[in-house]
């Protein structure tokens, strides 16, 4: 069995556990008392959705079912509907589940630019490889821009992916100005009339003012070549991230107006619940999830599936 099959098998296992999990907690016939509610609150907190969201859900459970005998299906339905509400908020981002490209904005004409940013080590470069693969298999031509000129061997890492995928890459030496790499990437995409340009950036913590300025500059410089760019500004979030994810979403949005999240590393035991809080406070939707290290391990985000997966053991 190959590595990716193994990872997928692991994921399937956690999904199976889920099916029984919540039903284990709420057994028909029990009284939904404070003790049970506190256990359930723990369950919610463990998804990283944060105290506020967890409170909201437990309060609604208390209101609707508190003190009564548990009707498992009804309780579960309340939880799910509240969570789906939280995730979809006002504007329904219901994309076509059969078209994996449907969440992505597209340029009216010329290359569509996707800028990818995030804190260190979350999975930006790997996600770029996955998205490029997805776009390519749907018949698009891609140019990658190796905008991480800081981290050791980051350029080599993206180059290896471009070789595996067989797509164009614009790169400069390590230490070069990332904005100039992005600029040349945009110029190259226009020159080749490519369908997409995907710009990798170095990982940066959202508190590093100068690095956030640098990110803004990358965006401005791309606009010199392609004025409406970037059409997509994706923030990659590591599913293991806790409440700091909210701070990340705020700061990166302030710098490059994020249009969506990629939630990477969901193949582990982490649930990525902080995206619920981000959706709630910032309105930024999750567009894709990463479920492994290979190029095929990218899935379209589906709120219902995510809600189910939140409670996997």
């Amino acid at each position: 069995m190959g590595l990716f099959d193994r990872l997928k098998a692991g994921l399937q296992k956690t999904r199976d556990i889920l099916r029984t999990d919540v039903r284990d907690l709420f057994r028909a016939g029990d009284i939904l008392d404070d003790g049970l509610l506190e256990d359930f609150e723990g369950r919610l907190i463990r998804t990283d959705m944060g105290v506020a969201a967890a409170d909201r859900i437990t309060s609604r459970l208390r209101e609707e079912h508190g003190g009564r005998t548990v009707d498992v299906d009804a309780v579960w339905e309340t939880v799910r509907s509240e969570l789906r509400d939280l995730l979809k908020s006002d504007d329904a981002t219901a994309w076509d589940p059969d078209n994996p490209l449907s969440p992505l904005n597209k340029a009216d004409s010329g290359p569509t630019v996707i800028l990818v940013a995030g804190v260190n080590g979350v999975g930006k470069t790997t996600s770029i490889a996955k998205i490029a693969n997805l776009l390519q298999t749907n018949g698009n031509s891609i140019v990658l821009a190796a905008g991480d000129t800081f981290r050791a061997a980051a350029v080599e890492q993206l180059t290896m992916w471009s070789e595996r995928l067989g797509c164009d890459i614009v790169r400069k030496d390590s230490g070069a100005d990332p904005a100039s790499v992005a600029y040349e990437g945009a110029a190259k995409a226009v020159e080749l009339n490519a369908d997409y340009l995907i710009v990798d950036t170095a990982g940066r913590l959202q508190t590093q003012k100068n690095l956030m300025d640098e990110l803004e500059k990358i965006r401005r410089v791309i606009q010199k070549v392609i004025p409406e760019a970037p059409h997509e500004s994706l923030l990659v979030l590591d599913a293991t991230t806790g409440q700091n994810g909210l701070s990340q979403a705020k700061s990166f949005s302030a710098a490059v107006e994020c249009t969506g999240l990629v939630l990477a590393k969901l193949d582990g035991t982490a649930r990525g619940g902080v995206t619920v809080a981000i959706r709630q406070e910032m309105g930024i939707p999750v567009k894709y999830i990463g479920v492994g290290e290979g190029v095929d391990d990218l899935e379209l985000f589906d709120a219902d599936g995510f809600v189910d997966a939140l409670f996997a053991k």
């Binding site: 723990g42 590093q208 409440q243 909210l246």
Partner: protein, 493 residues
Amino acid sequence: MFEGITEGLTNAFSAFRGSGKITEGNIRDGMKQVRTALLEADVAFDVAQDFVRNITEQAIGEDVLKSLRPDQQLVGIVHQGLIDLMAGDHTLPLKRDGVTVLMMCGLQGSGKTTTCGKLARLLKEEGHTPMLVAADLQRPAAIEQLKIIGEQVGCPVYHEDPAKSDPVQVCRNGVKQAKAGGSTIVLLDTAGRLGIDEELMKELQRIDNRVAPDMCLFVCDAMTGQDAVNSAKAFNEALELDGVILTKLDGDTRGGAALSVRAVTGVPIKYVGVGEQLDRLEQFHPDRMAGRILGMGDVLSLVEKAQQEFDEDEMLAQQEKMQQGKFTLDDFRKQMRQIKKLGSMREVMKMIPGMGKVVDQMGDMNPEDDMRRIEGIINSMTLDERHNPERIDRGRRNRIASGSGVEPAEVNKLLKDFNSMGKMMQDMSNMSLKDRMKAVKQMSDGGMMDPNANIQEKKIRSKRGPIDSIQLRDKKKKQRKDARKAKKRNRRK
């Protein structure tokens, strides 16, 4: 949501203020706030529950009911409780002769490779001869990454062609090579993996069995949420960890993962990573971490950070000028530029106890904008004007204003502020660090818990010397244990 910790605690404890007494009832409310604070800091749910339960028992057992300032005492107990939980041996025991082998493990992207480089650099500085081994054959360009890092710190990197080798073989050959080549420490950089990935965890165990490293260090991203317990548990069960290194603490995460990982593995945190550069590795200080988790500010780190960023000679020169009242607008501009190097003003301010609230009150106000305007004004002055601001008359003022694009009134205000600030600085520069912190605190206005409670406590200890502080802690521990026993006895009655 983020400021909930400082605020939550402040609110919880201000409820006690003036009441002079802690009842079981109001400690419950306060402790609920502590629990929320911990959860918002990403402390694992069960760990937070246990902690609150233990501390509650302890607080009542210690008879804080008679205290005059129960809020302070409670903060102290919570703070000390966190410290106790994270205390341990924070050094790396290295062999005197022969080769010490350290193995890094952790999730993908947690910072293993970078930390290998940081450790190698640190150990080299201490006189050891480290060698790096590239055992991550999975991530594209991982070997390349370690090679570059090895070059940067100036130590050899052992690697093999990934197509013809496997991680166990690389590690074994690496250690062999180290022994032959006279290295004293070997750092094994392994591939990142998920705790639930049995196949890859077995591979780590194979390295552990066949290479028998002296220590296995778990590298954990400080931004990790509730999942920290799961991965820490998995790695600990597979490898019996000896220590933890927490990375990316240079951000604004509360770092509750520190507590979670410590609680489930029982092994001490050895170092913390505070930046991408290879010199950004620091000793772990449980007291600072406790303060950070509680949102009590991280003054000591701030001081250290300032020392790192500031040009020391320049600082001394300026300090002297301040003392003599010779501080000019030129110096002021220099200082502003140095402060900017520390990072965002908001973040810097948040590190100061009690300032979190002030930052909140600033709303969208951006201190950087102010600094930029002020710098603009000073830039528009002649050198002579910067040294002798009293020479700036109406005509000059208008010229400066139009040069920097502000209203003349703003130039006036700057000159006035600078004048009064000069006096204040002259006073402050003659103060000790502690008094200066107090002054800052006074400026930030009261209305919050006393963040110095802990500092004062320390002062008393330091008078008794370092050994006494350990005895004191043991004594306190014993008291608490007795108290708990007594309480249990009482319950049975």
